[in-house]
Symmetry: C3
Subunit: 131 residues, 3 copies
């Protein structure tokens, strides 16, 4: 196994982006055949996360963006940067997922796509893939 990094740019404060094809591209570029049956996608940020959800109807992503923002409790936060809601959502959604492979391809369900979750953008972000 080895770790590969990709960069992505987010567009808004809260912004879900489908990165399925970028992840598959990393699998395709490997010289030798992939010798594992899973990959791990890891986000090295504390105000972003990674999830899997429906990417067929774009309104699922926009509904998730709205619901995530609404989920954050309206309490006085102490962290001086003012982005504690983004830190909370990062921990609720999570920064690592492990995905099965089939013949070196992502073995996702019919409606599933891999979604980078920006909670404090817009920024340029890093995604680590252990393949």
């Amino acid at each position: 196994m080895e770790i590969v990094e990709i960069k992505i740019k987010t567009a808004r404060t809260v912004n879900l982006q489908n990165i399925t094809s970028e992840i598959q591209k990393v699998l395709d570029q490997k010289d030798s055949s992939i010798d594992t049956s899973v990959i791990t996608v890891f986000i090295p940020h504390t105000t972003a996360a990674i999830t899997i959800n429906e990417t067929y109807d774009p309104s699922v992503c926009s509904d998730l963006e709205t619901a995530f923002e609404k989920l954050v409790p309206n309490i006085p936060y102490q962290h001086v940067e003012g982005n504690s809601p983004a830190h909370l959502l990062s921990s609720l959604v999570g920064t690592s997922i492990t995905i099965p492979l089939k013949n070196s391809r992502l073995d996702l369900g019919t409606w599933q796509g891999i979604l980078f979750c920006e909670f404090d953008g817009p920024r340029t972000r890093t995604v680590k893939i252990a393949r």
Copy 2:
């Protein structure tokens, strides 16, 4: 490592089901001794999830079912299928978990069981196990 699939049937819209013994059975059926120290359980659906929690007192599962439904923000959702709450819960609970093994058996804590989380049932669902 290899990927094995099992099927389960859910009974209600929101329905947590203990699938610990079904997962252990998949480990038991392997011809050769298992050469990894972890397995990954992956859900290939966008309105379901996988978690680990107490399976000793059944009221923990029913409390979780009620709390999950209550957690969903009451906002206007755009997704035409009307099941955005199920998509949200899928991303909050998550679709993959990685579990340590000890002598080819699930190395869970005393009170832990593996719970399939249905959020848009009843349906027949698939669970993928990378062993």
Copy 3:
């Protein structure tokens, strides 16, 4: 791969503790060079969890503790032990994370630390590391 256990003591009912250096110590102690590119950290408890978040400003952790408690829906829970909110938070935050390694060291982002999440303390708890 092999499974190693460490023990930690928590101080309050809801208590996030930075265990990054304890996890790195487990990696450092391995006799042979580590042959994987990821480790999995697993919590064998049903009222605790594991996450990664900012550990630089301590107010992030205290904000998370407050927000987690506030997030729990105020509904009548049936579980006789009365700690259903802790079970809920365990499933929302999750009990396993998989982290990439670089030269046998945790390959975390600049601001990231590994946080044990106690939701029903104070207690002595176990953390399992598959290295």
